[in-house]
């Protein structure tokens, strides 16, 4: 059991290292996600078809979580992001991080990504 969760967190730490890091000029309040104990900045790029996210966090586990979300939700159309079902979060045992009261902000991150998708979709239309 101990090794099991260790592996998961080590994976998150490694994932964090692969995170497409946000341009420093976007590491400002406008791109900060509220509701996390650690700071998370998230920036969307939209080429008219696909949204690409870059992000960063001052906590390593949080950086891993946002990297994981980016792996799944980046380079997608706004519709795909809006319609995504994040069952994988449950499946890989990050369930406890999903509860709305948890301060790591996983839910806030997902919500922010969907909000960007909604806004960019509206602009496109």
């Amino acid at each position: 059991m101990f090794e099991d969760w260790m592996d998961k967190y080590n994976l998150l730490i490694d994932l964090g290292k692969e995170l497409p890091v946000i341009d420093p000029k976007y590491k400002v309040k406008d791109f900060l996600i509220e509701g996390c104990q650690s700071k998370v900045w998230l920036h969307p790029d939209f080429d008219g078809k696909l949204i690409t996210f870059t992000a960063d966090s001052d906590a390593i586990i949080t950086r891993g979580i946002v990297a994981l979300l980016i792996k799944v939700l980046s380079n997608r159309t706004p519709e795909e992001i809006l319609n995504s079902d994040l069952y994988f979060i449950d499946k890989i045992g990050l369930r406890q991080n999903l509860s709305p009261t948890r301060s790591n902000g996983l839910l806030s991150m997902v919500r922010q990504m969907k909000l960007y998708a909604m806004a960019l979709d509206a602009i496109k239309k």
Binding site: F2, I61, T62
Partner: protein, 405 residues
């Protein structure tokens, strides 16, 4: 005194495991665990004599009321207050401070008046005063702290002036553990006829509190931080203040006579207890105080000092670990940071090892700002913790370091 195995056996939750590891509970500053006797006392209310207090003519209501008033007597003797009229039940420290801030503001505060707080206050002893100041045009003055996390008394003396109406300070810092020199604070305030409120949320559970010897005008604390149930707290006030202050809530039980033209209020302490109070929790609190007395407050203080010095020594020995708050007099709370590792990462990994600590600003953002940080990891111990648990924490911290290196 009971040995540590017997003490731990009194707390059912300490037998549980989290993530298949024995629970190590080091978040006592946030809330404490409850001994079986407290759980039984609350159960007994609902199982055998539940009835609304001060209302009914019937047997159960009488029995509940009697147990509730006995709980008040228990609190009175526990903090050595003069009279039962001086003990008001509230929902907790936050409610007690909000209540006094409101009533005191209504009764005494004029534009330009000043309230003195310290930099070490919990948000619960900042925001209610800010709200009152905003309403009344009064001003907050703040006693600064030094790098060790101790208040600078000379600065406090300078802040006291003819504009000062009240001083409200914590007995001990929840974020750093610093114990404040409250005798000196109170004496200085009294020498210029200014009353003092002591926030005892982090003080009451760590040793003997004697409000008469301390001579504080108000003393407030929460039941759940002294092994009692959540949702009950105490507002102690000297009778001369409580009888002069208006109530902060209106409702049933706090009144004498109600007409649509005018309402007169009930006598003390009921004037401040509007609506149905959390009487089962008050009865549970009395049981918690009995438990604390059975262990002995001196014994608790000695055990916790011992745990604090052991933990300070163990944690100081960890390379890259910095303890924040180096006051000579501390409660058994250690706030720390690991070099280059976010407090949230540390807390998450310790959690997975079964160790409950708190991370973040601890509802004391001004303290964090003072050090230019956005949070710490806080381990807060109490008498049911052990040195072996502290060893596990120290090993856990090493593990965190190796994971994030």
């Amino acid at each position: 005194m009971k040995d540590i195995a017997e003490i731990r056996a009194d707390f059912p939750i300490l037998r549980r495991q989290v993530y298949n590891r024995p629970l190590i509970y080091f978040d006592n500053g946030a809330t404490t665990q409850k001994p079986q006797s407290v759980l039984d006392a609350v159960d007994e209310v609902y199982e055998s004599y539940n009835g609304n207090i001060h209302r009914g003519v019937h047997f159960l209501s009488d029995m509940s009321s009697e147990a509730y008033e006995k709980a008040r007597e228990k609190v009175k003797s526990f903090i050595n207050a003069d009279k039962r009229e001086e003990i008001v039940f509230t929902s907790g420290t936050t409610c007690s401070i909000n209540g006094i801030a409101f009533s005191f503001g209504e009764r005494y505060i004029k534009p330009g008046d000043e309230i003195i707080l310290s930099r070490l206050e919990h948000h619960a002893n900042i925001v209610p005063w800010q709200m009152m100041c905003e309403r009344k045009g009064a001003v907050l003055r703040v006693i600064p702290i030094n790098d060790n996390g101790e208040i600078i008394l000379e600065e406090y003396y300078k802040l006291l002036s003819s504009k000062t109406r009240l001083v409200s300070v914590t007995q001990a810092s929840n974020a750093l553990g610093t114990v404040l020199p409250i005798e000196k604070i109170i004496n200085a305030a009294h020498s210029v006829n200014v009353p003092v409120l002591i926030d005892g949320a982090q003080g009451i559970q760590h040793g003997i509190v004697d409000v008469k010897a301390m001579d504080s005008d108000f003393y407030v604390f929460s039941g759940h931080k002294i092994y009692g149930p959540a949702g009950i707290g105490i507002l102690y006030g000297k009778e001369k203040w409580l009888s002069d202050l208006p109530p902060f809530q209106g409702g049933g039980d706090m009144v004498d006579k109600v007409t649509f033209e005018k309402t007169t209020y009930n006598e003390l302490p009921f004037k401040f207890e509007a609506g149905t109070m959390n009487y089962p929790a008050a009865i549970g609190l009395a049981s918690a105080l009995d438990y604390v007395l059975s262990i002995g407050r001196e014994n608790i203080a000695v055990r916790e000092k011992d745990l604090l010095s052991y933990a300070t020594e163990r944690l100081s020995g960890i390379k890259g670990l910095k303890i924040l708050g180096d006051s000579k007099d501390k409660i058994s709370t250690i706030s720390f940071l690991l070099k280059d590792i976010h407090q949230y990462d540390t807390g998450m990994i310790l959690d997975k090892m079964g160790i409950a600590v708190r991370t973040g600003t601890h509802c004391a953002q001004p303290v964090m700002d003072r050090y230019g940080i956005d949070g710490t990891v806080r381990a807060s111990f109490c008498f049911y913790n052990t040195k072996e648990e502290i060893d596990v924490l120290a090993d856990g911290i090493e593990k965190v370091k190796s994971m994030f290196a």
